[in-house]
Symmetry: C2
Subunit: 575 residues, 2 copies
């Protein structure tokens, strides 16, 4: 029996591209589901066969989402203006990654054991999932992700294309120049979250008191906090959402006058790829920042660099970083499972529970109110820790950057010169006319070539290990840059609560409002603690993983050099 | 039965030093022969016991030389003014070497097989010894070495001490400064032999014609040349002479106002150590240069540097280079077995067979005279080869020097900083207060320490491998620097022979003198060819050996790093 599908949106075939025009509501038969690239081959009722964008249709018998996610494919369909269009896109020659390579992504961690002590809590309400990475690595039982990137209201032309117009050139050279074609690292990457305080309604005037003194409870999904073994923790969903960013393609519009890069974004839940440009990620970033920025560090996206002559490397790097950013967002229990984003058609921009009002949705379940001394102590502790880690991470990035330069610049050049010197001397020796010379010169030439090979290995090694160490630290630098603002919101709230008596005396607030303020500051503290515990859990996982990977690759590297040299050595005859 | 010994020279004990005064002709009993440092413990006929310099006595039953060498211990005794005097010498803290470490010394090459093809000749007269290294590595059947360094006529005070006065300071900084305390390498090392042409009697006026037109045959030992498989070769002695330079001691004289370094020089034939200062080596160098410089490259001694703050390293390095120089001289069949030096008491300075007259002692045995075309071709060929090798060696030295600087300077600093950065970040992590933190931080700290260890290893490695590669090339640079002068003598002779007809026509020489000149130019060519074959044989051996050693140490180095990193990796727990 043929697979049938419902057409969800009109699609007009581009002539000469083997496409099939379809209309909303039409039923078509899928003739080949394995075309790839976001396309399927289908036949309409008139027997015409051609390619149709996968996202424009709903395959009838396929309900890939086990629970609560039936709306997701529908939501994905809002990306209709970004469906792959082979006629105007060209494959960019970047190695296709089969699995995400960003360190810390559980989906690329096959050796993940079933839960660790730290990940388990005694609270029944927080159901630990089967794939028990401590807190961070359990997916949601709902599939909100596609809605999270619902940009239905946005027409393509509304965006300003300037910053991802790959035809711009020369911009790369303006950034910190790195020898040997390495990408700019750790320098210009946005290190702080863009909380524009006046973006939060009333915040510029009244700061956190908008929430502290709010009259009515916030609408929308509640965000529960439970007491776990490590302290207050977010509610972690049972399933791990992830999202693969891959397959960058150069697209163009305005008859080729403007070009851009599209990335294929595939949620692991639906496995349906949709195409996105950088600006779409940026829109999502802005939404998440507005919504959660006061409580949760929402790291900036990778730099909006224009590319220079290293276009392909740049695209690959940005894709990797978008992948890292996406995965981090998917891994966050609050960000990934927020009910707000499940409402589908509702315009995300109209959400009023933004800024400090996010705290109004947080519900510490069965937890006693914290006194202000503890609230303040915790805040100070996190402030110190994040500052110290920020320093440590920046230090490592600086050193790593220098090491990168040395390993891709002068060091391999030196090995190459050593190799050449051996070979040159060996070439001179062959002219001696002396009998038995070849016993030395053959081996010496081979040794010279070996050092040239080592030069190559040295130059390529940083991409295999240091790169990931740098990327992870870069990511953490971005995250840590968000904390001063987040902690600032908390400190402002603490100050406001401390003024409570004075405000009551001045009849600016009532006594019960004062009590409410303290309770809400306690909620904010639970939120910060849950977030810190989430941060710590992720950090331990990420650094453990990246350190292991780094050392593993370093071991392979040095072993390979030793093996090459052993071979070179064996060519010499003992005299 | 006690060992008796004859006292050869008067020795006056220094008070308070446990020494025993003895007189020439006295018979003493050896009570302890294992004192070391050139001393034995002895008892005289009056029952007094004390230390006596080993070289001042002849132990009765000990005739360590199997053949022809009975005069050697006597000759060694001429070093009486340099006998160790514990009262005024202080042990310099330089690692005592058990065996010479200079590459290319057969005595430190236990895996030397019994002869190779290239080392055998069809000529019966050249008896290949049992330890058949091709040509270069067979010792003499006579033991001329002690006589070679007979400096009997020289009183200690005749020497100018300025250049080995270790109390001079600051001089090291004047030479090419090298990061990280490495010795100055490849820069100032004398690169040419000091043939002062006017040193050869009559040379400045008449050049090689002194020999070409000589009326009477030269006195002294003949130096035969035979036809070997590789071409004309020197007569190689059956036994390998070598000489261990070790045990540098700081001595002083003029009541401590002047200090100097004495090295213990022990010929492997007699095993009797004698002490020498740099200037004594220099005297020997000058003698050899006068005697053989026209025919055989006599490389300069290591630099007469004054030491700065790296005194011990400097002393060790100079000792090693003196060792290398000594060994090369010992290895040379002509230099090591020259009959001239066997005459013992005769003042070496009075030898008249110096300069170009050395060719008069050379006898190509059973070899046909070469025509001038072949003589000229050979000369050109050697000139080209030595020039090209000189360039190649200098190139390698330049690169090696840069590599040395990097390996002892910025590279280990970078590894250290990486190690510190890991440890710092780990230290920050421990302050998180998060449960289960130690699973990461312990491993991360260990990884950091590992990189600090690697830094140390990287910094120390050049001394283990690059050093010997540099030293060997440095030695060859010195040797190659002699060839332009040596070849110049040959070219001048060729020119003179070419003028033969003109000279006859002008009645400046007779026709038979012209014929004699051509014959002698042929002899010079045989000499040059024998010397080049000796050079090639040594070169192949030396480079084979040093390349093997270099690669072997490099393999160990990289394997050790890999092993350390593997251990560091194993400390991380998979999560």
């Amino acid at each position: 029996m043929e697979t049938k599908a419902q057409v969800l949106y009109d699609f007009a075939a581009e002539p000469g591209n083997n496409e099939l025009s379809v209309r909303e509501g039409e039923t078509i038969s899928i003739t080949n589901q394995n075309i790839g690239g976001g396309w399927v081959e289908a036949r309409n009722s008139r027997g015409e066969v051609g390619l149709v964008p996968e996202d424009y249709i709903e395959i009838n018998q396929a309900k890939p989402l086990p629970s609560g996610g039936s709306a997701a494919p529908l939501d994905l369909s809002f990306f209709d203006s970004h469906t792959p269009a082979p006629a105007s896109t060209a494959q960019v020659d970047v190695a296709q990654k089969e699995t995400p390579v960003t360190p810390g992504l559980p989906s690329s961690s096959p050796d993940e054991p079933e839960g660790t002590e730290t990940g388990k809590t005694s609270n029944n309400a927080w159901q630990s999932g089967g794939t028990g990475h401590p807190q961070a690595y359990q997916g949601p039982d709902i599939y909100p992700y596609p809605c999270l990137i619902d940009i239905s209201g946005a027409e393509d032309d509304e965006w300003d294309d300037e910053w991802d117009d790959v035809k711009s050139s020369g911009g790369y050279a303006e950034s910190d120049a790195v020898d040997g074609g390495a990408m700019n690292r750790g320098g210009a990457h946005g290190s702080s979250m863009k909380i524009a305080l006046n973006k939060f309604p009333g915040f510029s005037k009244s700061g956190p008191e908008l929430y502290l003194l709010a009259k009515q409870p916030a609408k929308g999904t509640k965000l529960p906090i439970y007491m776990g073994e490590v302290g207050p923790v977010w509610a972690y969903p049972d399933y791990q959402l992830d999202c693969v960013v891959a397959d960058p393609k150069k697209g163009s519009k305005m008859y080729g006058l403007k070009s851009y890069i599209e990335y294929q974004v595939t949620p692991t839940t639906t496995n349906k790829p949709v195409n996105h440009r950088y600006k779409h990620f940026d829109w999502l970033y802005e939404r998440l920042l507005d919504k959660y920025g006061s409580a949760i560090p929402i790291p900036s996206l990778p730099d909006k660099q224009v590319t220079g002559r290293f276009e392909e490397e740049f695209i690959k790097m940005r894709m990797e970083r978008l992948q890292g950013w996406m995965s981090r967002m998917c891994r966050h229990p609050v960000v990934s499972s927020s009910e707000d984003w499940k409402t589908g058609k509702r315009k995300a921009e109209k959400d009023e529970t933004v800024g400090v009002m996010v705290f109004a949705t947080i519900e510490p379940e069965g937890l006693q109110d914290l006194d202000m001394i503890e609230v303040e102590q915790k805040c100070e502790q996190f402030s110190r820790f994040t500052k110290a880690m920020d320093d440590g991470v920046k230090d490592l990035l600086t050193i790593g950057n220098e090491h990168w330069k040395r390993c891709t610049g002068p060091l391999p050049k030196e090995y190459q010169r050593i190799g050449k010197a051996f070979q040159n001397l060996s070439a001179v020796f062959t002219t001696s006319g002396y009998e038995g010379e070849a016993t030395l010169t053959d081996a010496m030439t081979a040794a010279g070539k070996t050092y040239e090979e080592i030069a190559q290995m040295v130059a390529e090694q940083p991409k295999k290990d240091l790169h990931f160490l740098m990327e992870t630290n870069n990511e953490y630098k971005g995250l840590l840059g968000c904390f001063p603002d987040t902690i600032g919101v908390h400190k402002a709230a603490i100050e406001k609560v401390k003024e409570g008596d004075k405000l009551v005396a001045a009849s600016k607030i009532t006594s019960s409002e004062k009590t409410g303020m303290a309770k809400r500051a306690s909620t904010m503290s639970y939120s910060l603690q849950a977030e810190m515990n989430h941060f710590h859990s992720n950090r331990i996982y990420d650094y453990n993983r990246v350190m292991q990977q780094y050392l593993e690759e370093q071991v392979k590297f040095y072993e390979k050099i030793a093996e090459k040299l052993r071979q070179a050595h064996s060519q010499f005859t003992t005299m």
